[in-house]
């Protein structure tokens, strides 16, 4: 790390945004992406602005439509055990608890996982499936980015340079989806997903709504609306058809974790398995 590296810890969002105006400034949440990237020389900010002393970013609170707002600085370890998350948005807990290992998740945040925009970001699939909204603030004001517009490519998001993520909001309309996140990795803890497949189904609504989202098999995390529609039309009886459609829709690459062919096959296997388990 450079010897002239500076560190500031503002206590308000406005202050944090103003500090970003200086070139070479990076925001810091858990640091579980940023610090290793700095050590590897892939990022070289001249100063770090720690967001963890901003009180408003630590809240998980209910919002008007019955949804849940998760502050940017809330560690994933708190998200995965939060009663409202477990009760109404269990798919997010399923995904959150697969990130790294328990101590890592005491630091790692949902917002950091999104901002890093990895194709393998485990929480991203839950947020795509649950149609989350990303709340951001900058010197020009505040706006909300629908999650489907957020991921643009590996490491690339729709955030403009000075935009700070303040919270991730799960809309009330997405409450009640159940299902599972089927994830393959080389070891059970502390490894990024080789393939991640989330299959969810609404609870109680008729006709049932389905959700299918994938991690680590395309340049961005993917939600497969066409596959969901197939399952909505025909139910779990269409599990094999859904699996084939998902297999064709993903765009995996070969890397140290697995080959493109393996990943594509596993997408089919896991979508089928996930759909049948909800039949």
């Amino acid at each position: 790390m450079p010897s002239d590296l500076d560190f500031l810890s503002p206590t308000s969002v406005d202050e944090a945004i103003a500090l970003k105006a200086v070139p070479g400034t990076a925001w810091l949440l858990g640091g579980t992406d940023l610090l290793p990237q700095m050590r590897a020389g892939r990022k070289a900010p001249g100063r770090l602005v720690d967001l963890k002393r901003i009180p408003g970013l630590h809240e998980i609170r209910e919002v008007a439509d019955g949804g849940l707002s998760i502050g940017a600085a809330v560690p994933l370890a708190d998200v995965e055990v939060h009663p409202d998350v477990l009760d109404r948005f269990p798919l997010l807990a399923e995904c959150a608890k697969t990130v790294g290992a328990w101590p890592l998740r005491q630091r790692a945040t949902l917002a950091g996982n999104l901002c890093n925009a990895s194709p393998a970001a485990d929480t991203a699939v839950a947020l795509l499936a649950l149609e989350a909204e990303v709340e951001v603030a900058s010197t020009v004001g505040r706006r909300t980015i629908p999650i489907r517009e957020f991921f643009l490519g590996p490491g690339l998001s729709a955030l403009e340079p000075g935009e700070l993520v303040t919270a991730v909001v799960l809309p009330g309309a997405s409450a009640g989806f159940r299902g599972s996140y089927l994830r393959l990795s080389r070891r059970k803890g502390m490894d990024l997903a080789t393939v991640g497949v989330l299959v969810g189904k609404s609870n109680g609504t008729l006709p049932a709504r389905w959700r299918v989202a994938l991690a680590a098999v395309a340049p961005t995390p993917l939600r497969l609306r066409a596959v969901e529609e197939l399952l909505e039309a025909k139910g779990a009886a269409a599990a094999s058809e859904a699996a084939e459609a998902a297999r064709l829709a993903c765009r995996p690459i070969t890397d140290l974790r697995g080959s493109a062919e393996y990943r594509r096959e596993m997408v089919g296997v896991l979508v089928r398995r996930g759909a049948l388990s909800l039949g």
């Binding site: 450079p2 560190f7 610090l35 290793p36 370890a77 290992a101 328990w102 101590p103």
Partner: protein
């Protein structure tokens, strides 16, 4: 750039000047001579650097010392009390859960954090809580057994109204975990 930090380490207030880039791990080892926490990978993968930060287990190689200012840190050195070993430390010895010992401080700190949340953990709870701690020697079986044995001892001590061992089971920093 240097910054002044003040924090509490194993119950002792500390003030120091640190470079911003210095990790909490380096500060503990080089600045305070607390060499229990180890640097295995320096990238969050191995867990040998585990310490408690405000009662939460964290990879101290992924925390900057400046981030710990104003907070409470407990290291493996802070788990034993007046030369009385923590029940986990005793159980690791009696179960041969230590071979080279490099992973041991991290394992015990993670396990201490687990037992504070779940005094009666299942096998799965223990394995999940320790999934971020690598051991190249023991094969893990003895470690998992040691955690269960220490948990049982700590529960027994707590149910007889708390004696020295039960106190040692609860590091000061663990009692007041903040949200």
């Amino acid at each position: 750039m240097k910054k002044t930090i003040t924090l509490e380490v194993n119950g002792v207030p500390e003030t120091a000047e640190v470079e911003v880039g210095t990790t909490l791990l380096r500060f503990l080892r080089d600045g305070l001579d607390l060499t229990g926490a180890k640097e295995g990978c320096n990238e969050g993968e191995c867990g040998s650097c585990m310490v408690l930060l405000d009662g939460r287990p964290v990879n101290s190689c992924l925390v900057l010392a400046v981030e710990a200012s104003g907070r409470r840190v407990t290291t493996i050195e802070g788990l034993s009390k007046d030369d009385v070993l923590h029940p986990l430390q005793k159980a690791f010895l009696s179960h041969a859960a230590i071979q080279c010992g490099f992973c041991t401080p991290g394992m015990i700190v993670s396990a201490a954090a687990l037992l504070r949340e779940k005094p009666e953990p299942s096998e799965d709870d223990v394995r999940k809580a320790l999934a971020g701690n690598l051991c190249r020697c023991t094969g893990y079986r003895q470690i998992v057994d040691a955690v269960h044995s220490a948990a049982a001892e700590m529960r027994a001590a707590a149910s007889v109204g708390g004696n020295g061992n039960a106190d040692a089971g609860k590091p000061a920093a663990c009692e007041e975990v903040t949200a």
